[in-house]
Subunit: 346 residues, 2 copies
DNA sequence: CTGAAAGCGCTAACAC
DNA sequence: GTGTTAGCGCTTTCAG
């Protein structure tokens, strides 16, 4: 089923069919157009993308590289980005880096080799050097959940929630409730957003007149290898056990994200404590499960839908050349969602 | 960066480079080979996939169409399938149908138009008629989580857990504990696997000498529109409310999947009941969260990793022409995982 | 063992 | 308005 056959069927030349296919339909008689459309329908013709791409160097696929589809947060991003893309006739190629820098780079390379010119990269890495060569050759990059850094490519778009504010809100919520002994639970602070969340935590403490030095960041050990997402829950659980073993366990815990928070809750329960009573826990992300859990989880919501839509819009306008070529940062406002997992200390 | 430039650099012809690229390297002197490899490295050459595909009609991408990446169960499938594919140099293009039959068909069409010849389809639909035209043209299809049906294409591979046995195990577990008033909570029984799970439920009841007519399938209303996955939890929650309003509420509940079960637990809690004490709940899938929830969720585990690996292996061998062309069904054995959400009735 | 040549399906100048 | 033409980068006979 080629454009040639359609042309023959419609009694026109391939280029006329091509013109129609590419929206240059003012260039032909309405009746010609009709004939071509009928031929297309009759033959069930679909343009061959490989040929089209070979010719134009363009395509309508964008890449999405996420740390882990095992975490519903990233699943939600995928859904929303896909919806936005689909509505404009774009496709999304989803890649799962498992927070492995090599895999991340390999995927971006692969995407580029596949002719994908726009990628939404949810990178855990502080530096984007590993993808710079491609950016220099024209790859359009949107960094998601990672604010701009000094060494970033000039054309980079960054889309992120304000992580520092988010976890400061979380922390402040706990101090407002009267908690004084707080802990921050995370894996390695190996990514930009994690560092910022930690910064928000300490800022929140200081604001409440608590010396950050007296608070705990757990787990203290194992910072190097505990960076996963599915593992986030296991990590939270283990961290909770560690915290409970302290002389003066914290009464309030800020977790790096909801999966981790859920693990923390599990760990506290292992230790015989009741979350939302003996200990308060705050998460980050507001995944669907936060509202299902027992107790329901107080957390910091990221406006995912808006962020995903922005990511697509930015990418699209740059792929079109219709947008600015200058980089920019979009920082979204996080929102504290208070539920049952937090309460005044007993 | 074309094959021509590599050829020039290495002082050979493009076809020799192509031969090397395609594993026909016995056809050349070792030193020629060396020269070419050096040239490739030096120039950082990567074959253009579009061109290659245009020429050969083949590619190394497989499609995965899932009902919803918002459900961690499908996220887990994506991860495992991707791992298996990656190890063999294949890519996975993930598509999210949101259980919309039209979207499902459109995606399969799109994939085919993109030159994808193999698709893992997690279809909710009893009939695969909508993709038959493509199968007739050579699309290799693996149906996941959907057992073979009478009208299916002869070449179809089906990979699924034995759903009937799974939910029979779940039901039996409840009856063994002494429960006599049971309910089955699901959205519309619109898919093959859901029907089977329901069948397993009734089989389990009969085996325990309970008349299925006295048990409840909830929700009774709204069967048409409540077929989603993220919504599964909301549905479970609403269903629980309905059940509690009955004169004699069930003491044991079998849910269609874990997300739904989590919603049920939430709904029971809304009603002031304690799961694993006042009421027992069993899920299906064994998502990561089943073991995090409070109480931890008794559920039926699907051997996801093995199933995903099988899906890829089957697809691959058929794309290679190295496998059988006959269809086949692979039914995996589910496993009951007993946790805290089930206990004898009080 | 290596090279020359044809063409996959499409698009975009450029003619007419 | 519509057709002609020249490739995009690659693979694969078929010659040498």
């Amino acid at each position: 089923m080629t454009i040639q056959q359609v042309a023959t069927e419609a009694g026109v030349s391939p280029s006329t069919v091509s013109n129609l296919l590419n929206g240059r339909n003012h260039r032909m008689l309405p009746e010609t157009r009709q004939r071509i459309e009928r031929a297309i329908d009759k033959l069930g013709y679909r343009p061959n993308r490989a040929a089209r791409q070979l010719r134009t160097g363009r395509n309508t696929t964008i890449g999405l590289v996420v740390p882990s589809v095992g975490n519903p947060f990233w699943g939600a991003l995928a859904r929303h980005l896909e919806s936005a893309a689909l509505a404009e006739g774009y496709h999304v190629l989803l890649c799962n880096s498992e927070r492995d820098p090599r895999r991340e780079r390999d995927y971006v390379d692969e995407l580029w080799a596949d002719g994908v010119h726009g990628v939404v990269l949810c990178s855990s890495l502080p530096s984007l050097d590993h993808v710079m060569p491609l950016v220099e050759r024209g790859l359009q990059l949107v960094a998601f959940d990672r604010t701009s850094q000094a060494g970033d490519p000039a054309s980079l778009v960054s889309i992120s929630v304000d992580n520092a504010i988010g976890s400061q809100l979380a922390t402040q919520h706990l101090t407002d409730l009267g908690h004084r002994r707080l802990a921050f639970v995370s894996g390695a602070l190996a990514s930009v957003n994690r560092k910022e969340r930690y910064r928000g935590f300490t800022a929140g403490l200081e604001q409440a007149g608590i010396d950050p030095a007296t608070s705990v960041r757990a787990p203290v050990k194992g910072d190097a290898d505990d960076f996963g997402d599915v593992e986030a829950s296991e990590l939270g659980r283990a961290a909770a056990a560690e915290l409970l073993a302290l002389e003066e366990p914290p009464t309030g815990i800020v977790a790096i994200n909801d999966m981790c928070a859920l693990g923390v809750c599990r760990g506290l329960r292992d230790g015989g404590l009741e979350v939302g009573k003996d200990v308060s826990v705050v998460g980050f992300d507001d995944i669907v499960l936060a509202d299902l859990y027992a107790p329901t989880l107080t957390t910091v919501r990221q406006p995912m839908k808006e962020m995903a839509a922005a990511a697509f819009t930015q990418l699209r306008s740059r792929l079109d050349d219709s947008g600015p070529t200058q980089g920019q940062s979009l920082l979204f406002r996080p929102e504290l969602i208070v539920r049952e997992s937090t309460a005044p200390p007993t």
